[in-house]
Every structure is written in structure tokens, then in C-alpha cells.
């Protein structure tokens, strides 16, 4: 349904007297992914890996530098504002920070009615009914419509953000760290709501997060990103049981598990994520990789089907580890 082809987003780094863009921050560097109807694609990586930028490109909050975003056959990447408008309602976004993503001066009713106004749907009465329906759907009382964002807790605000995103029956929801700002006991409430809405509305999610346990719980497939590229893509269970990329393995082993004294075989990676402005040559992971060879320093590995793995498991590493 949604297909990303070689999607690239380079931000110019302006410097010097003439403010020229001499260098580029390669936030997203040639990503090819697809998303099926009703599916959740998890996007995981450390800060600076380009996962949020990729999400913003999909809903066209960023204009990608190159590549295609095919939504049901139409390439959204080159479209301008007006041409894009009819598609916007099908691609919506849920943000991480439920405080900053809601206008503090508008009531919840006004915030939720806005999508309908922008797309010219219904009259005042119909909009009020829709708003009430949305609030009910995300588990908030109808009286919430007359209140302001500050009157709600983080979890409730995230429900409001979700209500706004689903207002126009979208096909794809890009969720950027939607539960990482929430308390543990609230996280599970909101995750359940995400799963419930997906079942009821047949939504497709691109679920961006750094918490692998959370991502694995909601996702059908997971893409691991490193420095703007997808390094591994596989069905969610597969990626946990038989990760092939050394980065994925290190990432999985780094998650602290809520089981005391289960510290077996942790791979502690040395060093930090390099800057996307000046990424390493060859395989971007080679400076931190315990298996790196001379070949990795010069030749960038392409995403290829993982050997002896079920279909749909791809990895970008020269070696079969």
C-alpha cells in the first residue's frame, strides 16, 4: 500500500562566510521499505539514526531530497502543498511529546474539529458529533471537549493526539515514540489502545521507538536503522530469535530486561554513533563492529536476503554471522 523507494533526506549544513551548504547531514540515506494494509512496521534505532526524519518524510512534513513515496500508486515525494492536501488525510502522525503537539490555547473540541474544518467535512453539528465519537473511541469522557490540554495527564494527552490522528479515517499512522514519554503503568494502557484501533479500523502503523520490547510487542515486521540506512529488516519474532546484523544483536543484548541477574552474554559496544554529517566509509557500522574486516572499511554492504532465513528477512552485512 505504501512503498518507499530509495528515500533520501539530506539536510544542508550551512557554514562559512557565504553560508554555503558545503556539507550535508545524511539523515536518511537511501531507504527502501514497504508497508502493507493493516500492518505495523517497527522502526528502531538510536538517536540520530534517521528514524524520525524518515517518519516525517512519509507524512511529508519533510520534503525528501530524492526517492519516491508511493502511496497506492501515487508518488507523494514531489507533490506541492495543494496537490498533497487530498492525500494528507490518509497519512497522519502521532508525536512523542503530548504536551507540545497540542495547541495549549485551543480546547480539545477545537483541536479535534480542526481536521474536519480543514478538509471541509460536515457542518458544526456533525463535527461536534464526530468529536464526541472520537473521544469515546479513545476512552475519554465527552466532557473533555470543553477542556484545555493542560488539564489532562500525559497519557490522556496522548489519547487526544491519537484521536486527532484518526479523525479522518487515515490509512497510515506514523507514530513517533508515542509512549516513551509516558509512565510505565500508562504505557500499557496506551499500547492497548493502539492495538485496539488497528484491529477496528484496519490501520497501518509505522511505529518508531527506541524501546525494542515495546516495538516488538506491536509490530509485525521490524526495520533496524543505523546512520540513515536500514541495516536489517525481518518479521518481529524472527529478528529477536535470529538477528543477523552485529548491530541488531548488540542492540537487543543491550536492553535491560526486568529479570534480576540475567546478565548473560551482553555485547557492550564501544564508542558512539558517528555523525551523519561525516559517516564512516564502507559499512557505516564498521568502526563499532566487533567483526569488521578491511572489506567493511571500503565497501558498503547492500541489503540482501539473509542466508538460511525465512523470506522477508534482509540484512546488510558482507558476512553470514
Amino acid at each position: 500500500m505504501l512503498e518507499l523507494r530509495d528515500l533520501t533526506m539530506h539536510f544542508p549544513v550551512r557554514e562559512g562566510v557565504f553560508n554555503r551548504a558545503a556539507r550535508f547531514c545524511k539523515a536518511v540515506d537511501g531507504v527502501t521499505l514497504n508497508l502493507h494494509a493493516g500492518e505495523t512496521l517497527g522502526l528502531v534505532g538510536e538517536s540520530g539514526c534517521g528514524k524520525s526524519t524518515l517518519g516525517k518524510c512519509v507524512v511529508r512534513l519533510n520534503q525528501p531530497t530524492a526517492g519516491e513515496i508511493l502511496f497506492e500508486g501515487t508518488d507523494l515525494a514531489p507533490l506541492k502543498r495543494a496537490a498533497l492536501k487530498p492525500y494528507r488525510r490518509h497519512l497522519q502522525m502521532v508525536f512523542q511529546d503530548p504536551v507540545e503537539s497540542l495547541n495549549a490555547r485551543h480546547t480539545i473540541g477545537e483541536i479535534l474539529a480542526e481536521p474536519f474544518i480543514i478538509h471541509g467535512i460536515g457542518d458544526r453539528a456533525a463535527r461536534a458529533a464526530s468529536v464526541a465519537g472520537l473521544l469515546d473511541r479513545v476512552g475519554l469522557p465527552a466532557t473533555a471537549a470543553d477542556r484545555y490540554p493542560f488539564e489532562f495527564s500525559g497519557g490522556q494527552r496522548q489519547r487526544i493526539g491519537l484521536a486527532r490522528a484518526i479523525a479522518l479515517n487515515p490509512r497510515v499512522l506514523v507514530c513517533d515514540e508515542p509512549v516513551s514519554a509516558l509512565d510505565v503503568s500508562i504505557q500499557s494502557q496506551v499500547l492497548n489502545l493502539f492495538l485496539e484501533l488497528q484491529r477496528e479500523m484496519g490501520l497501518s502503523y509505522i511505529f518508531i521507538a527506541h524501546n525494542l520490547a515495546v516495538v516488538k510487542h506491536v509490530s509485525d515486521r521490524i526495520a533496524i536503522m543505523y546512520l540513515g540506512r536500514v541495516v536489517e529488516l525481518a518479521p518481529a519474532d524472527e529478528i529477536y530469535h535470529s538477528a543477523r546484523h552485529p548491530y541488531t544483536r548488540a542492540l537487543i543484548s543491550a536492553i535491560p530486561q526486568p529479570e534480576p541477574r540475567r546478565k548473560s552474554g551482553r555485547i557492550v559496544m564501544t564508542g558512539d554513533v558517528p555523525s551523519p554529517i561525516d559517516p564512516p566509509s564502507g559499512c557505516p557500522f564498521h568502526p563499532r563492529c566487533p567483526h569488521a574486516t578491511d572489506r567493511c572499511k571500503v565497501e558498503a554492504p547492500a541489503l540482501r536476503p539473509a542466508p538460511n532465513a525465512p523470506a522477508g528477512h534482509t540484512v546488510s552485512c558482507h558476512y553470514d554471522l
Binding site: V184, S185, S188, L212, Y240, M269, D272
Partner: protein, 335 residues
């Protein structure tokens, strides 16, 4: 981590009560919290936002926002000496001396306009030496100890030139500069990526082994607690809900809140897309606490007795739980 030899308590917090004067009246953020930390031991304080875990840390360091916050009762004993009544100048010697502090956000914990070297030597100049050259040299040694490559050069750099993980290492170096007996770490890895978090946690464990540190680790991440701590204190709305050895808390939680919390987190072993068990509702506001047990309005096991404040009862000699009904609730084995 902890050696098995019985060591004397380094830090004892007993019945700590911390209040805040606000427009809504006097609020009790921490209400009767007690715990003990021994040398070489890590005690984790866990809870959600507003449970009072950070206020507990600030109280121990006597860094409560003034004039609103004050310690209204209880004792905080560092190697037997009560810190609550200590004059402020003596407290300043203890802070950064006997007690080291690691904060969540290394960018705000460091001064952006001073070099790493200047900030790090300042700690030594305040506590250990009068000689700036000596202080500088000690700083270099400290950076080396926390695993910072090329420490001489890093000493001349500013915080913004370092990555998040490196900055947190600098903060740890500052906390450990004067060989403290206790380190209070408030969400030390929350702002870091998982792979960097793994590095920092490993560093903290290694330094603890080398120096015999007592660590108070404040966090909301149950995974971090399970990996790092010997003892756990679970806080809810300013009170201790449950406390005990980490295995006991994670494998045999007795308080309904701890049970709910442990059941609600998705694990790698949880079946995908299954409905997660939840704790209904949300943490009550301090201005509007229920009478009696503070968890009652979210508790699936509530009954008439819960309007009385439950005392902390011994489940086993070292595992305590504040619930009237813990004996009656069927034992749940959380795996």
C-alpha cells in the same frame, strides 16, 4: 556486586517526611520513607512520576528547592551522622565529598561555559587540594578511570563538544572525584541510548566493585533496576509500597501495585499484539490523595479495610509490603 560479608550501613534513611508549601497548601511529597544502603550495595528506588523518588534524593543531599521544600521529619544518617540537622556549610563539605551525585541530564549538570578541566578541578579544589596543578592532574586521572579516551585533550574541551555518553562519564567522574562513600544517581541513563546506557551501567558496576561504593539508584526503568540493584524500594504517591531484595521483588511481588507494574511491561517474551494487563486510572495528585491506602482507587483487590493506611508488614524478614490484603491475594509468579 555486594559482597556477602555483613557490612555496616553507610546511609540510613529513617521515616523521612518531606513537605512542600504550595498554593494548594502543604503537600507531603515523601511520607515516612525508610531504607538502608550498605557499602558495595545498590539500592534502587523505583516508581512513576510524582511518586517522590527524586524528592527523596534531593532530601538526602539537602538540595530541596528553597524555601518551599523542607524535611519535616525523620533522619538521614550518613555513617551514623544525621544530615538533617547539619549546618549548611558542613553539608556543602559532604555534598561532592562523602556523597557523590549523578543527575539525569548531563548537559544541564555541567556548566556550558567552563571547560571540563575547570569544572572537574573545581571539585578537587573545594575538597581535597589547594594546588590547581595537582587538581588538574587528579582530574585527568579521574577521566581516565571513567574510560574517556585522550583525557588530557578532553580536559580542555567544553561540554557541548562531547557526546551524551561522554558527558555522563564526566558527570560520573565528578561524582566520584573525592572518593565518596555513597553515590546518588537520579535516572543516570534515562537520557541515553540503549547501547550507551549499557556502557554507563557497566562502568557504574565496575567502579562500584573497585571502590566499594554504596549506590542509590533512582529510576523508573524496571529493567535497569533488575540488572543493577541488590535491594529495591517501590514507591507510590510518596510512600513505600514494597521493599526487599531484587529477586524477591521481581519474582514474588506482593503489593498489588508492584504486581500490576511488573505484569504491564511488554517483554521480549510477551506474545506479540496480545492485550497487556493494565493498571486502571492514574497516579493521584498529591493535593488529592485518597484517605488510607494511596493505591486503593486503582487497586483490583480493594476492600473496606483500605480506608486505613496500611503499615509496612514483613512478608519475609527482609521483604516488606504495605498492603492489608497481601496475604489473601493469590500468589502470582511473574516470569
Amino acid at each position: 556486586m555486594s559482597d556477602s560479608s555483613p557490612s555496616s550501613p553507610v546511609l540510613e534513611v529513617e521515616n523521612l517526611v518531606t513537605t512542600f508549601d504550595t498554593d494548594a497548601g502543604t503537600l507531603t511529597a515523601v511520607d515516612g520513607v525508610s531504607f538502608t544502603v550498605k557499602a558495595g550495595q545498590t539500592v534502587g528506588i523505583v516508581g512513576e512520576s510524582g511518586c517522590g523518588k527524586s524528592v527523596t534524593a534531593l532530601s538526602i543531599m539537602r538540595l530541596l528547592p528553597q524555601p518551599m521544600g523542607q524535611i519535616a521529619g525523620g533522619q538521614i544518617r550518613l555513617q551514623g551522622r544525621d544530615l538533617v540537622a547539619l549546618p549548611i556549610d558542613e553539608m556543602q563539605q559532604i555534598r561532592g565529598g562523602k556523597i557523590g551525585m549523578i543527575f539525569q541530564e548531563p548537559m544541564t549538570a555541567l556548566n556550558p561555559v567552563h571547560t571540563i578541566g575547570r569544572q572537574l578541578s573545581e571539585v578537587f579544589l573545594l575538597h581535597l587540594t589547594k594546588d590547581p596543578k595537582d587538581a588538574w592532574q587528579r582530574g585527568v586521572t579521574m577521566l581516565q578511570k571513567v574510560g574517556i579516551p585522550a583525557p588530557e585533550e578532553r580536559m580542555h574541551e567544553y561540554p557541548h563538544q562531547l557526546s551524551g555518553g561522554m558527558r555522563q562519564r564526566v558527570v560520573i567522574a565528578m561524582a566520584l572525584a573525592c572518593e565518596p562513600s555513597v553515590v546518588i544517581a537520579d535516572e543516570p541513563t534515562t537520557a541515553l541510548d540503549v547501547t550507551i546506557q549499557a556502557q554507563i551501567l557497566e562502568l557504574m558496576q565496575q567502579l562500584q566493585r573497585d571502590l566499594g561504593l554504596a549506590i542509590v539508584l533512582i529510576t523508573h526503568d524496571l529493567g535497569v533496576v533488575a540488572e543493577m540493584c541488590d535491594e529495591v524500594v517501590v514507591m507510590y504517591a510518596g510512600r513505600v509500597a514494597e521493599s526487599g531484595p531484587v529477586e524477591s521483588i521481581f519474582n514474588h511481588p506482593t503489593h498489588p501495585y508492584t504486581r500490576g507494574l511488573l505484569a504491564s511491561i511488554p517483554r521480549l517474551s510477551t506474545p506479540r499484539k496480545a492485550k497487556l494487563p493494565i493498571i486502571e486510572g492514574m497516579v493521584p495528585s498529591l493535593a488529592d490523595l485518597p484517605v488510607g491506602c494511596r493505591f486503593q482507587n486503582r487497586c483490583p483487590h480493594r476492600d473496606d479495610r483500605c480506608v486505613e493506611l496500611p503499615p509496612l508488614e514483613a512478608v519475609t524478614p527482609d521483604h516488606h509490603c504495605a498492603c492489608h490484603r497481601w496475604r489473601e491475594i493469590p500468589a502470582a509468579n511473574v516470569t
